[in-house]
Symmetry: C2
């Protein structure tokens, strides 16, 4: 590896490793997104969403946009969670105003048996190139977060053929043909591990796994069909260039009841949605992992005094010491006014000084 | 009150009061519904869904249908959770294939200030008549469960104008004009208390409050804007004809992290969705309340051996003794084959004998 520039702002890494800090780091899920006019302009130039993801220059540009506006403590690769199924040959596309869809969803056990494991350098070079470019352009300003969808979450889209909150086909397979689902999840876990390791090799300093739909499972099925594969991925992550384990954050939306089990995977951080009480979460997780979150994105529509009260309550709830990464409890929505985000980021930094 | 027929099957009441039992009682959310061909026939005759709800004879008929097929331990009033907002003048209607909608959603503080509190005997006589009729027709076979939506859940539909999983308008009010939302919730809590007491006077022996959307709130907002009003309602419930408090079950979908707080309301039972581990829930709630649930409705699409394994795991998870009412973790879906329900009900009775 060639030597990388020293990080100027390492708050995120220090928080995830529970090392002393001057202030709580903050980044925002979907921080490069439609609520930013400069993003919308770039997206319009690119044509469609996937063209934006597949063009490393454009992906780099939108990744850096929110850092120009806000005093954020991390950048996150601009990409989609469904690049892996797309690389497996399912044909990802987006209809305007609809969720993602696949031209060739997995409609049989045979389709799953024939599915290849992804070789990232061969199949997804545009993601690796984007990571390298962003890392170079960041020039050590803040760390870069790489990411992937979780095997369970990817499987739901691949089997349902798109977004679907009932997961009829996937759960029918889970309860009726669990060995076929397991085969798919094994292939996805191997693919995600390769994908995140390629991002790490290209410069990602933290990785996050988005388990958007883990919360749709029963407690037992969550452990067996979602958490088990995230644990395998965490165990399979390569060390960073400094030889240290690259911190992994696991975010299961609706996973608040299962924090102890998530912490036991060996992840460095647990993403909390906004339904958690962060103080109770810290009491349950203890020193096992850092916590990331967890303001309701809806608070960003409220007056700044309300944002201040909510930020304060979350910082107070977590309490003194390192181990907290401030974030929303889910992605920011397109209707939010950027100045509200600016206020949020500054409030987190200013108010958190008292807790360090 | 005129004396009511002695109950022949009082398992549900005994479980909710944690009294000794021969077997675990079971009923199913939405047990009178579209998965039954006899329901679809009755619905077709009635014309539309609201005509069915508003006709006490027809509502009685569909309420009793599942009891003819399955060895269920309770009947639940056939009605809709949105009868109260409809009686308040919002104009409930259903578009085929869409969720419920209101002709006049609450679009201003003034609309909320002008909103009347419901007087059930005057405004919703069809519900009271249905309860009386069902109770008479049941003739003591099993207890009758009355129900209502929770104030928070009703408020979301009334403000959004229909189903909407992001709750943009409602949360904007919650964080921006909490005093207006509070006024609405106060009116709804008074209306729901009156509504449930009218159902109790007409013969409901248990009541359930459906807090379908409480799980969309932050932990703090849930206590302040949903649970607080359910607690008021529980405190305001009239005793039944025997002078004993009528058991209330609170069901907050996605409320698994907040069980201790829910138990502290004085409710008799807590409805669990399927994401809970019922053994952990029992350990947390202790003797404070009975637990109801919590099989994933998706399991009903699986072979009977799988249903058996899941029933067994839930019974085993709860463990020995009274205090468990078996149910699904959410309403049964229209695609389920009735024979699967039959198998489920019998499995619960047969397998639970060992735990009593």
């Amino acid at each position: 590896m060639k030597p990388m520039t020293q990080l100027k702002n390492d708050r995120l890494l220090r928080a995830l490793r529970k090392q002393p800090l001057d202030a709580t780091p903050v980044w925002i899920m979907r921080q490069a997104g439609r609520y930013l006019p400069e993003y919308r302009a770039c997206r319009a130039r690119a044509g469609d969403f996937m063209s934006l993801c597949q063009n490393p220059q454009a992906a780099c540009e939108v990744t850096l946009q929110p850092l120009e506006r806000f005093d954020l403590d991390a950048a996150i690769l601009f990409s989609d969670i469904l690049t892996i199924p797309d690389a497996m040959g399912l044909g990802l596309y987006f209809e305007e105003g609809e969720g993602p869809r696949f031209r060739k969803p997995l409609d049989s056990a045979k389709a799953i048996e024939q599915l290849p494991v992804v070789d990232t350098m061969r199949d997804l070079p545009y993601v690796v190139d984007a990571v390298s470019l962003i890392r170079r352009e960041l020039n050590g300003r803040v760390p870069l977060i790489g990411f992937s969808g979780s095997p369970w979450t990817l499987a739901t889209y691949m089997i349902e053929g798109g977004s679907n909150r009932d997961f009829v086909k996937t759960k029918t397979m889970l309860y009726g043909q669990p060995e076929i689902l397991t085969l798919l999840l094994e292939k996805l876990a191997a693919s995600v591990t390769d994908y995140l390791n390629a991002q790490i090799a290209a410069g990602a300093q933290v990785v996050q796994i988005f388990d958007t739909w883990g919360g749709a499972l029963s407690a037992a099925a969550y452990r067996e069909f979602s958490l088990r594969y995230m644990e395998k991925i965490v165990a399979g992550l390569a060390p960073g260039p400094d030889g240290e384990k690259v911190p992994a954050i696991l975010f299961t939306k609706g996973g608040g009841m299962w924090l102890e089990a998530i912490a036991a995977t060996g992840c460095h951080g647990i993403g909390l949605d906004w339904t958690q009480d962060i103080g109770e979460a810290r009491a349950r997780v203890g020193d096992k992992a850092a916590l990331q979150g967890n303001m309701d994105p809806a608070v960003l529509r409220a007056p700044v005094e309300v944002i201040e009260a909510e930020v304060s309550a979350i910082l107070q709830g977590y309490g003194p010491g390192s181990g907290h990464v401030f974030n929303l409890g889910h992605g920011i929505t397109p209707d939010i006014v950027p100045d509200q985000v600016s206020a949020l980021v500054d409030l987190v930094h200013n108010l958190s000084v008292n807790f360090h």
